[in-house]
Symmetry: C2
Subunit: 560 residues, 2 copies
């Protein structure tokens, strides 16, 4: 059977655009003489469509698109993903389905069984799980067709009671096909390949695995579609992050007509879910993910221009460099906003960075505005000592200036916060926490440094001094991060245990971390829930990003 | 059987406080000579605990609390709610369970079957549904014990495949008991009573229904625990919003020893899910819900003082009045921040309001700060025409002043946005959209007026002029809301159809609304997703509030 893999980047709700893209790929598959072309999970409407699935019209539009696509399934079979109405009165009203189109008709649909409802996933919010399983007979072969999570229910402690492939095996299929929307995180590509391979080893069938690509707000899908032959040799792997396609033949013996990339007896892929934070882990992938994340956010919203606050520090430098890479240097304006507490190097470093990047910038000192605020607030502030209130005024003045320029010139403010700051609440709401998209809110400070070194690999883009100077918010004389926070090489590893690994304080202490640091860090993280609640979408690069993947009540008693 | 209903207000994660409260109620029940005392769903840890349930220590603490409580179940049986570990390797690791405690031991547990995963609910994120059903034999009677949603799976199109009461009926129980955490919205009290009554009518058994009370961040539980006799007469109804208790006897004939409040043949309660927006619907309840919501937000976070921006307009007036009612007038500071575009009445009305309330206020004009911003921005803004950028600078300057005072004096900024503004994005991010808690973000503008009239019912608290003047943001000369938006009596009904009723544009048009209004409104709602994404928790009073109950992607193509 000749199968075309179509790894595409869709926009949620863009039925016209998605359908056009899908029909284009069917055309190409026909030109290749393919028997079958395979698209990804919920390809017709985009994944995740979230509560748009609650609108009848959204489902109607999906079904209309399926029928439009079916008209092109002449002489070729097409597998696409779309919501399906549950005709039974019992259970939720929708299924997450794979549609098998042939002879210009919907021949059959396969419903997803395992509905992920953890981390960023909410599928049980919309979909009823399958309760029947059947293979699809096509050109004399039986296809075991599953949707994404359906092939992940392995191991000794499976999350779901039913494993759909176990059910499908009763019909002795010839090939497995899985359509996915499996997002990127820096552990997930190897994990995903290992899972697909485990299925091939368990069921002794060749497998075609097609995954979505492209960013949907904070969630970045990274493609890497795979083909394994019956003997668990990896024969094809599509691009990471970009759209890609391939046409392969799976023969009657379950062999694939492509050279073997990794043989079946290669050591099982290392499980990339490290016990301890490794800031260098896949930093090249992280950079690419962020670039794609920024690019799709802008292009899918029809926007071009970004603005970034340029403090001369490492976070804004890396954000600016990544934004220039994603959007083009001419589209990224930065603003230096020195105050009386700014060091001279914060301006010279920030300017040097823009010269290196070739990106436009303004220098707008905030001292006058700051003094206006202090004068105006005199009736309230008189007889009080300077504290965090005065510091936050400066941060919020900068936020206001950036937003004013964004409004005036039609830019989106890119947020420069890192995950360490966001964790412990070391940032000012409506100040440096402002912005429409957080570029590095899922990167710990140590990872920001890794990104900086990676960006500088070939030539110095980020001035060395930015990388080597002591981190400071420069909101009062002689202020350094280290006065408020443990050093980042102590802070970040503890945060990793609490956030990524969901380990509670006692467990973290037992791992040998400094008790004072653990106690302080966990208290700070919990106290900052109200700040994170109001934060913008964060490009997700880790297995546990702040945002929809981590839902902690604002009002609660926590561990500390 | 003598049964004590314990309707209590818990704090999520406050095992010490919750346990103490529960043991206190057991003591009272013993004094009343009760055979059994019934608490609410997940009472031990608080509902909803969200991702705190992912921490082992959180579950350990819950179980420890259950055992501590069990030690007090001597001579009395106790039903409490707590998470339970799933000992089977298959499925999720937790159940949402009711624990039956007696003789100082956990006698048995009942697992919840129907796990709500719509609107604000995420239970399938944490819990495995039950797959076994059994009654509990106690003092010669068989109790059919269920948890919250378990009794809601009625009707022709049930959400879940299994109805646990149908299963339990196979054992011929004598009484139904349901422990709940069922939140308030202005349609839900009658709906809830009707559902409980429907169960009594269907199964012909008496029913004790105990519901939680108190606010958990945005979600407000309103108690109203119920007792029906076997003949579907309502015999007891506990307080709405407040903690309450009752001790009743259900005799061998399913009769209850309390006077009948509503007889079984009273007309079925009107289904309070109106097709069209009725701004006056249950406005008294809405007011009480908001008061409790504010109060619990502050008390559970250990806070006292609030600050409110006082524009002299209706939204800030109602917010201020409700905050004073909830927290005490001395704890609510308001700040008037006139600019050159402020009308004289905005100051005099704002001051009069504070005099009526007896609450402290400052007047801090923002003109100087605004000019500082314009001067500083001169290099960017020169040769441009004044537009929304200049307007937003003023709003954000006010946000900055309010936050600065909040930081300095240790207050929480209460947000004054209403649902109409939030819907169409008629507000400034980090400006008037700032704040830690949104008091009226789930009230449409027409409902804000209803609240104002309700507050003024006995005497004029909100100056009449505030209620009668034309709404204006006062950010440019002669600005009125009506220049940017349809009149609120046209806007709000369309918003209600789109937000609360999830009706798509075509459907709304068919209902006869003005096509221009519908088109504009829906486009504005969709365009404002990015703003709402960064908004603070909103006290939920409707069946569909912005926040966790409505999850729309920021990046998408929408209907318009």
């Amino acid at each position: 059977m000749k199968i075309q893999l179509a790894q595409q980047n869709y926009t949620v709700g863009d039925f016209e655009g998605n359908t056009k893209k899908i029909i284009g790929a069917i055309q190409k598959a026909k030109e290749n003489g393919a028997d079958l072309v395979v698209f990804t999970e919920l390809s017709v409407c985009g994944y995740p469509s979230a509560d748009l699935l609650n609108f009848n019209e959204f489902i109607d539009n999906s079904l209309k698109a399926v029928h439009e696509i079916a008209a092109h399934a002449d002489g070729i079979a097409v597998i696409i993903g779309a919501p399906e109405r549950n005709v039974s009165p019992r259970g939720k009203d929708l299924f997450n389905s794979a549609y098998f189109l042939y002879d210009k008709k919907i021949q059959t649909t396969i419903q997803k069984t395992c509905l992920p409802n953890y981390d960023i996933f909410d599928e049980y919010r919309y979909f009823e799980p399958a309760y029947e399983w059947k293979t699809i007979l096509f050109k004399g072969k039986k296809i075991a067709l599953t949707v994404c999570e359906d092939i992940w229910n392995l191991g000794d402690n499976p999350l779901y009671r039913i494993c759909p492939m176990d059910q499908l095996m009763k019909e002795h299929p010839d090939i497995m096909i899985n359509i996915s929307a499996s997002p990127f995180d820096y552990t997930h590509d190897e994990d995903r390949k290992a899972t697909v391979k485990q299925n091939v080893l368990k069921y002794k069938l060749p497998m075609v695995y097609v995954n979505a690509t492209g960013a949907q707000t904070q969630t970045i899908f990274d493609g890497l579609s795979l083909v394994f032959d019956k003997d668990a040799n990896l024969c094809k792997q599509l691009a990471q992050f970009d759209e890609d396609e391939a046409c392969i033949i799976v023969d009657d013996n379950g062999k694939v007509d492509s050279p073997i990339i990794e043989s079946n007896n290669e050591l099982p892929n290392q499980q990339l879910d490290p016990e301890k934070l490794d800031p260098a882990l896949n930093i090249d992938q992280v950079r690419k993910a962020i670039i794609h994340g920024i690019r799709d956010y802008f292009s899918k919203l029809g926007l071009q221009k970004a603005i970034v606050g340029n403090s001369g520090g490492i976070d804004s430098a890396v954000t600016l460099a990544l934004a220039c890479e994603a959007l083009g240097k001419e589209n990224v304006l930065s603003v230096l906003m020195p105050s009386q507490y700014s060091s001279s190097h914060s301006i010279s470093d920030g300017e040097q960075l823009c010269r290196n990047l070739g990106s436009p910038y303004y220098i707008l000192p905030i001292e006058n505005i700051y003094h206006s605020f202090l004068n105006t607030l005199q009736p309230v502030f008189k007889n009080t000592k300077p504290d965090v209130a005065e510091e936050n005024i400066q941060a919020r003045t900068r936020g206001n200036i950036l937003m004013a320029i964004a409004n005036k010139l039609g830019c989106v403010l890119l947020n420069t916060s890192n995950k360490s700051e966001l964790s412990v609440g070391y940032g000012t709401l409506y100040g440096d926490m402002a912005g429409g998209l957080s570029v590095m809110g899922d990167c710990y400070k140590l990872q920001v440094y890794e990104l900086a070194r990676h960006i500088n690999k070939e030539k110095e883009i980020i001035p060395k001094n930015i990388i080597h100077k002591q981190p400071s918010a420069e909101l009062r004389p002689g202020q350094y991060d280290s006065q408020s926070l443990p050093p980042y090489d102590q802070l970040d590893p503890v945060l990793y245990q609490y956030i990524e690994k969901s380990r509670e304080p006692d467990e973290i202490l037992k791992m040998g971390y400094n008790p004072k640091v653990v106690d302080l860090v966990i208290r700070l993280v919990n106290k900052a829930e109200f700040k994170r609640h109001q934060f913008c979408p964060i490009l997700r690069i880790s297995p546990k990003a702040f945002g929809p993947g981590r839902r902690i009540p604002v009002v609660a008693r926590y561990f500390k």
